[in-house]
């Protein structure tokens, strides 16, 4: 049965490039296995529908709505203005502001695509106006967008937590330090590139302007602290925190900033349901495929084969990193995650690797995959926003890739970077 499933997986991977929707191919691959293995097909609707029957996963649509509300309420402008006032005076200042803006935005949004398409539109327009070329603007936008799903809230981490049976709250909190490290690594890279490419710089706008932009962005800046604080004082589960966060965002948009009215809500919700449908179609069919992998004993076979090579956790992590980086180039992140979790996680746990650290490594790898060609969702969206060809943007993003990989190496070899904060805040 293992060989059968491996063959099906191979065929599935090749047909992916013919362009059918990922969910349909995952569903068909699952069906093919069930039929050939003699398992009744009624398992299909059961696995698929029950994948959505999960309270933790419910946080996903709520956070998607929150991101949509935030993007509509003009918050992206306020955040970017503030970031510009803080770091705009450096050489390559708007690149730096782009990173700082992404960090703040990441505290309210859980998706790299939302960052690239929402905040990215504002950032790229401002950078072009200031004389940056479109590649430079697009590259830093795409690279910094990957911070979004590392700093909580995070869509991929919700899905990871549910699929790998790891605490979503612990994953969220574990992402804070790596997310900030990514920002630092990117800022250092911008620093060295800006000197070499003689990027423009701004005069410092003065403390008055800094204060004014801070006040304008205040409610957006404190949002992450409320969210994280509520979740980690043990008051709310991530799902409940998400619902409260949506209320916060709605109050902000409807009454404080008044950028939209009640009449805009149906469209916002409809767009949210659409995105939920796209995400859930992947989650549901990948759950089916994951079930097939388990029935076919692929995890055991793979684990046995790997542990025969070495039982050193660091060697295993190294192999996982390389595998995920390569797969990330060719696959969409959520789908890759859901298919690989049942294969890779059991062995990691058996080798004594911390489940939270492993989750962070997993998610960061696949987020890096969103900005690598040939299949990179964030790169694709950013190329459209910036109006540059995909290939040229991919090349311009390359230096930042190294910065992100440096952070990946750090969290791989040094578990405390990801495990210290969750232990500190959750083990009382």
């Amino acid at each position: 049965m293992t060989t059968l499933m491996a063959t099906i997986l191979g065929a599935w991977f090749i047909t992916l490039f013919l362009g059918p929707t990922l969910y349909a191919l995952m569903g068909l691959a699952g069906f093919a296995f069930l039929v050939l293995a003699g398992i009744p097909g009624i398992v299909i609707p059961q696995k698929i529908a029950m994948a959505a029957n999960s309270f933790p996963l419910l946080a996903a649509p709520l956070f998607i709505l929150m991101g949509n509300v935030m993007n509509t309420s003009g918050i992206s402008y306020r955040i970017f203005d503030f970031a510009k006032a803080v770091v705009g005076w450096m050489r390559g200042g708007l690149c730096q502001a782009n990173i700082i803006g992404s960090v703040i935005f990441a505290g309210m949004s859980g998706s790299a695509v939302a960052d690239a398409a929402g905040l990215g539109t504002v950032e790229i327009a401002a950078m072009k106006k200031e004389g940056y070329d479109a590649e430079t603007a697009g590259a830093i936008t795409a690279a910094s967008a990957t911070i979004g799903p590392i700093i909580p809230p995070s869509l991929p981490m919700i899905v990871y937590g549910v699929a790998a049976e790891t605490s979503v709250g612990a994953l969220f909190i574990a992402g804070v330090i790596p997310g900030l490290l990514m920002a630092v690594a990117l800022m250092i890279m911008v620093r060295s590139l800006s000197i070499r490419q003689a990027m423009p710089r701004h005069p410092f706008e003065g403390f008055g302007e800094l204060w004014r932009s801070f006040r304008r962005a205040f409610w957006a800046i404190v949002a992450p602290f409320l969210l994280i604080g509520g979740m980690f004082s043990g008051v709310f589960t991530p799902t409940e925190a998400a619902a409260v966060a949506v209320v916060y965002a709605l109050v902000l948009g409807l009454f404080v900033y008044r950028e939209f009215t009640w009449r805009d809500l149906p469209k916002l919700i409809l767009d949210t349901v659409e995105t939920t449908g796209v995400v859930m179609a992947l989650v549901m069919t990948a759950t089916l495929l994951g079930y097939c992998l388990t029935v076919a004993r692929i995890p055991q076979e793979f684990g046995g084969w790997l542990t025969a090579l070495s039982t050193n956790p660091l060697v295993y992590l190294l192999i996982v990193n390389v595998l995920l980086l390569v797969v990330g180039c060719f696959m969409e992140a959520l789908a890759a995650m859901l298919v690989l979790i049942p294969i890779l996680v059991p062995t990691a746990l058996k080798l004594g690797i911390d489940p939270v650290q492993f989750g962070l490594i997993f998610v960061l790898n696949l987020m890096i995959g969103t900005i690598t060609p040939p299949v990179g969702v964030v790169l694709f969206v950013t190329a459209k926003v910036a109006g540059v060809p995909f290939d040229r943007l991919a090349r311009a993003t390359l230096p930042y890739l190294w910065a992100l990989i440096a952070v990946l190496v750090l969290i791989t070899v040094w578990p405390a970077v990801t495990t210290w904060l969750p232990h500190l805040m959750l083990d009382k």
Partner: protein, 160 residues
């Protein structure tokens, strides 16, 4: 026919908004009652989950209509009009095949669950599963529509 399609789309949209709002209200009610009044609801968690199942499938339909489901389009993007139409036909064939499977098995599982009770709610589990064949049917229809459009494009771009 277009009138019927538009009407069906409006029903789906309305249901989508209603299930999402219901789900959101359930979670909020749970927060408020548990923390403010210390009286947790027994059914809010369960209802929220079932509404989410519906919401996910309704979103699936909407995404099929707006053609926003994720696909790897590297090859299609690099080919001409004819190539792209061919890729689109393959894509709709896959979507159609899976939708038909889901329709058949979806009806079976709904029928089997009609007399199985939910934990704390008044309806049977069959109601939760009923959205599977409904969504599958809608997606199958959109797949056929897409295939016809791609076919026409292929015919139109045929060299004389």
């Amino acid at each position: 026919m277009p009138l019927l399609a538009r009407a069906a789309a409006r029903v789906v949209d309305a249901l989508a908004i209603a299930t999402f709002a219901g789900m959101f209200a359930c979670v909020l009610a749970q927060v408020v009652l548990r923390y403010a009044f210390d009286r947790p609801l027994v059914w809010s968690d369960e209802l929220a989950r079932y509404l989410f199942v519906w919401c996910a499938f309704l979103g699936w339909i909407i995404a099929a209509r707006r053609r926003s489901h994720l696909a790897i389009s590297v090859l299609a993007d690099r080919s001409g009009t004819r190539g792209r139409a061919l890729f689109a036909i393959v894509a709709s064939a896959a979507a159609f095949a899976f939708a038909v499977l889901l329709l058949g098995y979806g009806i079976q599982i709904t029928a089997r669950n009609l007399d199985i009770d939910t934990v704390a709610l008044f309806f049977s589990f069959g109601v939760v599963y009923a959205i599977v064949p409904l969504a599958a049917f809608a997606v199958a229809v959109y797949a056929v529509v897409d295939a016809i459009a791609a076919w026409q494009q292929l015919r139109a771009s045929e060299p004389p």
